[in-house]
Subunit: 221 residues, 2 copies
């Protein structure tokens, strides 16, 4: 697939650009490859620009002072990430790290090209800020549940208890049952389990789940 | 000041509206008064709309399951708050509470009027999402520092130690010195102290600070 097809599929503002603006983006965006584990964005790096992932997976996380990483969200192929262009968005003061979680290829639109287009064309800023709002909203949910409410810990404790009560790593339990057991809401439990699944701790199946990584689960207790 | 003057001063999209859109907003927005302590927004209340504060102060916070409140930000007179219109912004999934921290008056543009205008006019969405991004960015900073990094606790411990070493509530110390003492950055300390100041724990003065509420400070240790 050529560049323009990728860009027009990922960016809803594409039809709103003038032909000159499209030319400027097409002529300046570059395909980058990132090896698994390499750093793509951090607060002290220069601002790369808006990133459109063609293959692989990126992981956005924050670091505590003790070096504990908390995954905020993942970016999958076909998705864009505007937080790597946070210099475009005034008033993003938050330190976020983005690494390649698997070998990845991305199209990067440089800040220097995107910035003047964004100043002229409200649809570009609308898209960037809308995406930032969506990501932040997810992130805040994660931070609230994981760091503040301790739901991840309660789910982990429950799973650990169940594991020690039976043979084998497969637990037969629905999200609804789990939620009632720990006194939380089903949708909250579903999100926490999805988080555990992306971290490789469990594998989710209909009506049951398999614990894949006991050590990681234990670390949450 | 009449309604239109307030609206055009607070909303940068005002000149971008058609005369009909302005009429629709002017004809539908209502002035509300809130008594100190009353609830203005919470996830299970109907979505009020975009709120422009005319006087008083609002406080946005989250609640832990143990009922601990963490103040995320405050809204002052002349400022607008789009998070009370979170139903307008798809994908805000985060539970936030907004109360009146002091008797307050606000102009509220109902969601039902703002929504179709936002669909037509990109400048309206641009403003709403930009403001949401700014608020979220601040909020994430607060959550990271307060809940995750424990900087608030380290600052509180330092202030408490200093208080017990001397007479009276006034500490002569710059933000820079404080930051070096607790191994953090000056700008981080400045934000934490501003947070303490808004919570009524300290009063900030050039080169020194006064502890106003020893009990609240102690609660942070």
């Amino acid at each position: 697939m050529e560049k323009e097809a990728h860009l027009s599929a990922a960016y809803p503002f594409w039809p709103r650009l003038t032909p000159e603006e499209r030319e400027a983006i097409l002529g300046s965006c570059v395909e980058m490859t990132y090896e698994k584990g390499s750093g793509i964005h951090r607060s002290d790096m220069t601002c790369r620009g808006a990133l459109l992932l063609l293959s692989g997976t990126l992981r956005a996380y924050i670091l505590s002072e003790e070096g504990r990483e908390v995954t905020l969200f993942r970016i999958h192929a076909g998705e864009s990430c505007v937080l790597s262009a946070s210099c475009l968005l005034d008033a993003i003061v938050f330190d976020i790290f983005i690494d390649a979680a698997a070998d990845a290829r991305a199209l990067v639109i440089p800040t220097s090209v995107l910035h003047p287009i964004m100043e002229r064309n409200p649809y570009v800023g609308l898209y960037l800020y809308k995406q930032a709002t969506e990501r932040f909203s997810d992130v805040m949910w994660t931070m609230q549940q994981i760091l503040f409410m301790g739901v991840d810990r309660r789910v982990a404790i429950f799973l650990w208890d169940e594991l020690t009560r039976q043979e084998g790593p497969v637990l037969k339990i629905t999200h609804d049952e789990l939620a009632r057991n720990i006194g939380s809401a089903r949708e909250v439990v579903t999100k926490v389990l999805r988080y555990f699944s992306e971290e490789g701790i469990v594998q989710l199946k209909r009506g049951r789940l398999e614990v894949l990584d006991r050590e990681k689960l234990r670390a949450l207790l």
